[in-house]
Every structure is written in C-alpha cells, then in structure tokens.
Amino acid sequence: MKILVAVKRVIDYNVQIRVKEDNTGVVTDNVKMSTNPPDDNAIEEAVKIKEAGKATEVVAVSIGEEKAQETVRKALAVGADRGILVKTEGIIEPLAVSKLLQKIVEKEKPDLVFMGKQAIDDDCNQTGQMLSALLNWPQATFASKIEIKDGKLEVTREIDEGLETIEINVPAIVTCDLRLNEPRYASLPNIMKAKKKPIEQLNASDLGVDITPRIEQVKVEEPPKRKAGIKVSSVAELVQKLKNEAKVI
C-alpha cells in the first residue's frame, strides 16, 4: 500500500500573529514557519502504518512557495520515503490545492491520502473533503483512530456530539485530528539522511490546473480588542463583581 501525505507550511502555532499595516494580510517576513500541526499527525500515522508493515511507501507532498521544501524535508526526516513539491506563488485556495493534489494522485496512484483536518493559517477545513469529491473517493474526516482491515479502513471520527466510527473502502482520503497520535521528533541522524532523499519539484502550471483565486481578499484587520480587565483580590470580590457589576450570575 502506498500513502500520500499532504503537508502545508504555515506560520508556527506559537507565533503571535500581526496584521500588516496596509491591511493586505498578516506579517510573514522573518516569522518562524512550521508544518501545519495536524499535518504532522498525518505524516506520523502514515509512517507508523509503514513501520507496522502495512504500507510500502510514504510520499510527502507540499504545495506552496519554494521554501515549502523545508516542510517536505521535515516529513522526510520523520520517515517519509520521498517528497514532491508543487511550486506556486501567492494565495492558493483549497479548491486549487485539491485540484493540484488530484493531479498528483492520478500520477502517483496512492491507496490512501492523509492530511491534517485543517490548516491553522486560513482555518478553512476544506482540502481533504474537496479532493475526496474530485476523486469520488470515500472520506474520513477528523480522524482520531485508524485501523486497517483487509482493503478497508475503520476510522473513528471526532464529531460535535462525541465520536463516530465509519468503515471506508480503499482508496480513500483521511483528514487527521490532533488526537490521532503523538508526532515524533526528527533525530539528527534522520535529519541528515533526509537530506539525501529525493524531492521532485514541479510547477503548478505544468499540471494544467487553473489555480486563479476565486475569492478576493478585500482586507485583513485586527480583531476588536477586549477592554482591559481587572484583577480581583478574593473570591468574595469576584462573586460580588459578577453579581452586581457584570450582572451575569
């Protein structure tokens, strides 16, 4: 079985986001970038499946600017066998990403495609489901447990009401929840080894997909600030304030 894992390069989750003064976006210059956190879970799961002898190859793919190569390299350092980088510039919407991934899937013919359930930059939560629709494959979104059972997957999904279990035929798309596993750290020897693993570079234009944005980003602003609060000195004072000042209890 072959597993394709899509990884996205995003602003690191610990970075305090700053909006650009001209309201065209957020500041990305000289800001720490990392792999989108649930994409780390997706890679981890694929590598674990390979280690358990149930997959033969794990291929990491990223779509983005040249520097997204670092994100692919990180996936290689934690166990992916080889990488693909589809180079694009500017904003690329989930619909375009899923069309590019569709082309990669047609070329690579994986049995499973894994990715994070949501990217923490645009918070769209669309790509996996869109790819699944384009391929007419089953989708298991927000996965917190994956079991492989002869040609099928049993997936436990995180839903608002609790948990849901579904069975899907392979080939299939799985989008991963943070709860799926504990991503490993890359060891130094593996980081060195990853430098020798191949990364194929493609241009989005080579894949014959129209990736022109359909959504105009009119402006990006700071959210309204909360009024500064106060520190209370005791529980009695807190309860009194909630009762008489905020009037919420």
Partner: protein
C-alpha cells in the same frame, strides 16, 4: 436567486444551530429554502417548516440518509443547487464535513466559518485562530458558505408554515459505511449554546479533580468546557474541547479554571461577553482576555467560589 440552507437534525428534531444558520441565510436573501435529508425525518421536517424565515422545505428521504454520511448527502445538494445562488450550512463538524464536498463538485471556492454577512457576496471571517479578521468577496457564480453558529442569533422556531416538498433520493455511496456513533449524553446545557461555561485546563491535574468544575457548573447551570491540554491529558472527553480545533463558544459568562490561555484556546472563547480567569500563575496569557482575573490556587478558590455562591439568594439560570 434564493438561498438553500442545509438543515442539521437527528431525524426527529432539528439541531439548534439550524436556527442560527437560518438567520445567517436570511441576511443574504429573504427567499430562504431549506433542504432536510434523512430517514423517517417527518417530525424534523415539520419543525423546519415552522421556522418563519423558511419559505420552502425540501425533504429527501432514504434509508442510506439515516446517518448523515457526506458522500450520500453531497450529490443530493449538488443536484438541487442549480436553482440557488447560495448553499449555506453551519460550520460545525456536520457542515465542515459536508460543504467542501458540495463546493468541489460545483467548482466553487468555499467560504468557511463566516461571522458576518457584509453583502450577498462579501463576508467577514476569522483567520489564524481569530487573531485576524478577513473580509472576503466571492467571485464564483454560486457560493458555498459555512457560518459560525455562535456569531448569529437563533431565529424564531415557531409561527411559520412553509410548504414541504419531497424530492427524489440519490443513489447510495457504497464505499463508505456508517458503523456507530457514541454520543455523550448530558442533562446540562449544550456547550455551543450555554449561557454560562465553566472550563478546566491542565491545572486541574487529574480527571478526578474535574469534579470541582462539575460542582461549579451545577451551581451556575453551566456547560462544561476544557482546554486541549486537559483533553489530551485524558481528564475529560474531547466533546468538551473549546478552541481553534474544538468548539467556539460565546456565552454570557466564561469561567476558565487552571487554563493558561494558549492561542488555540483563546480562539474558542475570547468573544464571550464576560470572562473570568482563575489561575495561580499571574503571568498566564488567559489574564490578558479576562474581565475578572483571580490569581489564586484553584483548589482553594473553587471551593470558596461554591461557598460564596451558596450565600447568594438567587443565581440566574
């Protein structure tokens, strides 16, 4: 052209967020139709027809719609979409799972999780866990939009009498099979809609200590929330998680106990009307969003909180 709202339900009742989504849909266009897809869902369809904002209900029934599998639902809506300018659903796990499958089939770039309708083609949505707000304008002819339910008031639930039309079901998608759902039952208000939420974090130190949160929630008739750290540590189940990847809540009162206030958590609660933080670390980021901060050991403060509440003659429910 009219707006098509995808109703969320459990075959018997409408899910409450359908009311919030109806409000959002009506802000785009007055002519809101709602589609309900399910199995033996007449009662829910009737409830839907009673929402005064809904002008027409389309009911689609088949056994394979009983468990809301997106692969079965999407083709039904794609077929109906021909007559509509917008397809709308809530941005909860139901809508998040389903809408992109519809949007891709319609070759539309979806707009997720809007918090405001600015114009029928222009919306406000949070990005970067709510650390920035983007105004976005769709250039697609057909628009697929999911709405953040807590950012729109629920509409009236009675007084309407929309006609209910039946539409033919589609085929079953045989490659996906529903097996089971484990719902967490509770007598408490639902986390997404509760007036008061009491949340615990890693500072609770154990699942057993969450009893303190439970007692406080009982007293205030509150829903129970948790940070991801508390969920990951196994103190409480995931359906309580508040944050960027969990639920977004906007209660009148949010009480964060032993929660440091990671960016991901703040994303899920910082729009609450009044925020209380109880934490022994005075430097914890949660204090930056708290209206009332109490720097104290929660294991002393929460029992005192209960005592003080007991002294009050009345507590709002």
């Amino acid at each position: 052209m009219s707006v098509l709202l995808i109703a969320e339900h459990n075959n018997k009742e409408l899910k409450p967020f359908t009311l919030n989504a109806s409000t959002a849909a009506s802000q785009i266009d007055d002519d809101v139709h709602a589609v309900i897809i399910g199995h033996n869902c007449d009662e829910a369809a009737k409830a839907l027809s009673e929402l005064p904002l809904i002008k027409k209900v389309i009911q689609v029934e088949a056994a394979h719609y009983e468990n809301f599998v997106a692969e079965n639902f999407a083709p039904v809506i794609v077929k109906l979409a021909e007559n509509y300018s917008h397809i709308i659903s809530s941005a909860n796990t139901f809508g998040k799972n389903l809408m992109p499958r519809i949007a891709a089939a319609l070759d539309t770039s979806q707009i997720s999780d809007i918090i405001k309708v600015i114009a029928p083609d222009t919306f406000l949505r949070p990005i970067y866990a709510g650390n920035a707000f983007a105004t976005v304008k769709s250039k697609d002819a057909k628009k697929c939009v999911t709405i953040r339910p807590t950012s729109f008031d629920p509409c009236e639930s009675s007084g309407g009498s929309a006609p209910i039309e039946k539409a033919d079901p589609g085929e079953e998608f045989a490659k996906t099979k529903f097996i089971k759902r484990e719902e967490v039952k509770s007598d408490r208000p639902e986390l997404g809609t509760a007036r008061v939420v009491v949340s615990g974090g890693r500072g609770m130190q154990s699942g057993d200590n969450f009893k303190l949160i439970t007692s406080l929630a009982d007293k205030l008739n509150a829903a129970i929330g948790a940070s991801r750290a508390a969920v990951d540590a196994g103190y409480i189940s995931n359906d309580h998680q508040v944050g960027q990847t969990g639920k977004v809540v906007v209660p009148d009162l949010y009480i964060a106990v032993g929660i440091s206030g990671a960016i991901q958590h703040l994303a899920g609660m910082k729009e609450s009307k009044v925020i209380v933080a109880i934490n022994k670390d005075g430097e914890a980021p949660i204090f930056s969003v708290a209206d009332y901060g109490l720097e104290a050991d929660l294991f002393e403060a929460v029992p005192q909180f209960l005592e003080e509440l007991n002294k009050l003659n009345t507590i709002q429910k």
